[in-house]
Symmetry: C2
Subunit: 407 residues, 2 copies
């Protein structure tokens, strides 16, 4: 596809207006919104107001005057249309890892007669580490299986299944319905990690029969570096489950200051300590970038962008690279992975040209398409650049192969 | 004391310059820095730079370019002189409650043959709730004792003791040395909660023989609402303890993305998920307000302010109020509590006059003295105002007795 053809697609894109909600640097093609979402235009001023007017001027009174105390649920409610849940089933609190621990801990306590936590090999590491830490604490067993063994491995000893909705490496989507159905049949609970799906593809927790989920605030949700995570607990389960991380903010009456823990009703029981108000403000602005956007339109654009990228790369680079993501867009999230033996260096050379993707060991080059702000013309420019880097072997320079601390 | 005498004290105060590091609203006497520290002058610009230049312009590259990956240890190192620890024994991560869970969880796993978690009745509720949640998860017993029973209750079944250094209500200071010595004799571990002492009075973890501690970032450390907490693990214990909240950021090689958890060396093993960079930036600016300040000077000013306050209130209000804090300043932290049967209404009436304290059930009026920014003249003004409110019974108006959500 030529740049002009791509520009025509952008001109006809019904979501083109959404790019104006972001401040992206010039001369950069940012294909890493799956790692860190771009800065919303509204975020700096909102944060400045919270810092200067709320914290600075109103100080402690802001907990009431500006409703800080309700932000974990108020901000979370913006997620309802994004993940297909009811507002009162959602909460913003702590990091993704800590939130995973809370829901997994609640699940295994609710199935205390069972001994197995079921996970998938090579799933996102923090999910596996959280499961292992919890298992050590409780005296449980973590069973890690291959992706195609998962459904068959759910049985009457399975307390909980922990699973990514979209795989962080390959981008493949796990069918939620079938896992939820298999777990339900065995009376096991499933905790979904939506980090690589929420805000990028259609997620409908309610209709898929999901009961527990956690997701990341700093990727497609544009909440800023290290933004707090969200968690989801289906309404019918809220009274049955208890968070293992009991803190004062999850108490029924936090300001009664009593010695006995009595969990709040509803989703607020999953709060632990005092949340960062600054981080919540930034996530609020991040979620506001989804206002008025139908998730079906977003998902359609995600598929169109990633499908165009695959076509362009394969046409321009041939068998120098190997597609390591599902080819069928209905089986894929919003990022695409190509393997190349010198993938690390190739990505560094692309970054030097202003095309920002990332690398995942051992040889995967990962490119994310954030449908709110990425454009068809960017896909074509990235394809041209990758072809050129491969042609010139630009990555053979040492500056492109010296590993950074963070890849 | 007259206002002019107090102004003379302020003029002679060797720490007077530090008030210029804060932006405090006019016509307000802010005596609630023990709940939410004031806004440092430097915070808005630092946050704006992190948001606009780092997140906005440099995006994902900031993890390397601006060293975000090291901020949890870099920012924590600023605490070394404040709490009397080595930089490599300190980490910023998660909320106070979550950090308490990590250290308490690590402690009970290291003493897994023991069955009791020892706490003090009426300690800060989240400490009690965290202990109870962990005990439920591990099948342990929480033993809650009266303050004067604590030392005698430490025995060979005590896995860990969890205790506030300064009581959030009365302001009384617990002698660290004697608790640490009793615990050491019984081979139990102590987790100190420094939330109401760090940054307000002298804390010397190393010389007091402390091994584990957690503290709040948003009180005397001026890190902003819901700032992340810090944790301390003495060097000699770091290799023996494991965090129960195992996440990818605490892995020895987070970017190797391997399935098996292998904890980082040193304090970094207590990281869990990705920390909020915005919240870390604000805490960085908060901790910078302590630069060049000797903790002995800070503690001396804390004592002078709170002692003057007690004198003023007792002289002006007589037996209408009752001191509910230790009278001896060496036994007291940096806040002072007076009891009054209509304490809630009295505090609301004071707030309406711009004198900001807070209320803790059932009848406690709490006034915090942040030695970096509070002034002797403010103490006198607060004393005048409280006497006047008591004289006029201003709090009898319904607007002062209607309870807010957050007290």
């Amino acid at each position: 596809m030529t740049i002009n053809e791509a520009l025509a697609l952008d001109a006809a894109d019904p979501l083109a207006f959404a790019r104006q909600r972001f401040r992206l640097p010039d001369a950069t093609v940012y294909l890493d919104g799956n790692s860190l979402g771009a800065l919303p235009v509204a975020s700096p001023q909102l944060l400045a107001d919270v810092v200067e007017q709320q914290w600075g001027d109103d100080l402690i009174a802001s907990w009431n005057r500006h409703g800080w105390i309700d932000w974990p649920t108020r901000v979370a409610a913006r997620l309802a249309p994004i993940v297909g849940a009811r507002p009162e089933e959602l909460l913003i609190a702590d990091s993704t890892s800590v939130s995973l621990f809370k829901l997994l801990g609640a699940a295994v306590a609710a199935r205390h007669e069972r001994n197995t936590l079921l996970v998938q090999r090579r799933d996102f590491p923090t999910d596996l580490y959280v499961a292992q830490g919890l298992a050590d604490l409780r005296g449980l067993k973590v069973r890690a299986v291959e992706p195609d063994e998962l459904l068959g491995a759910i049985n009457e000893d399975t307390a909980a299944v922990l699973l990514s909705h979209v795989d962080y490496r390959s981008g493949s989507v796990r069918d939620m319905r079938s896992v939820n159905a298999a777990a339900k049949a065995a009376d096991a609970l499933v905790v979904w990690d939506l980090s690589h799906s929420a805000g990028a593809i259609e997620v409908d927790l309610t209709s898929a029969g999901a009961e527990l989920a956690v997701g990341c605030g700093y990727k497609y949700l544009n909440g800023g570096p290290g933004a707090p995570a969200f968690l989801f607990v289906a309404r019918h389960l809220q009274s049955q489950l208890q968070s293992p991380l009991q803190g004062w903010m999850g108490h029924a009456e936090p300001f009664a200051f009593v010695d006995e823990y009595r969990p709040a009703d509803g989703i607020a029981k999953f709060l632990t300590g005092t949340p960062s108000i600054l981080a919540l403000a930034a996530l609020d602005a991040g979620l506001a970038t989804f206002e008025g956007i139908a998730m079906a339109d977003l998902a359609a654009k995600s598929r169109a962008l990633s499908q165009l990228f695959i076509g362009e790369i394969e046409a321009r680079c041939g068998d120098q690279v190997r597609l390591a993501s599902p080819r069928d867009p209905s089986l894929r999230g919003s990022h695409v992975v190509f393997a190349h033996p010198d993938g690390y260096g190739v990505i560094q050379a692309l970054i030097a040209r202003g095309i920002i993707g990332d690398f995942r060991a051992p040889d995967l080059m990962r490119f994310g398409f954030a449908p709110l702000y990425n454009q068809f013309a960017e896909v074509v420019r990235a394809g041209e650049a990758l072809a050129d880097v491969l042609r010139t072997r630009e990555w053979d320079q040492p500056r492109f192969t010296t590993r950074s601390k963070v890849t």
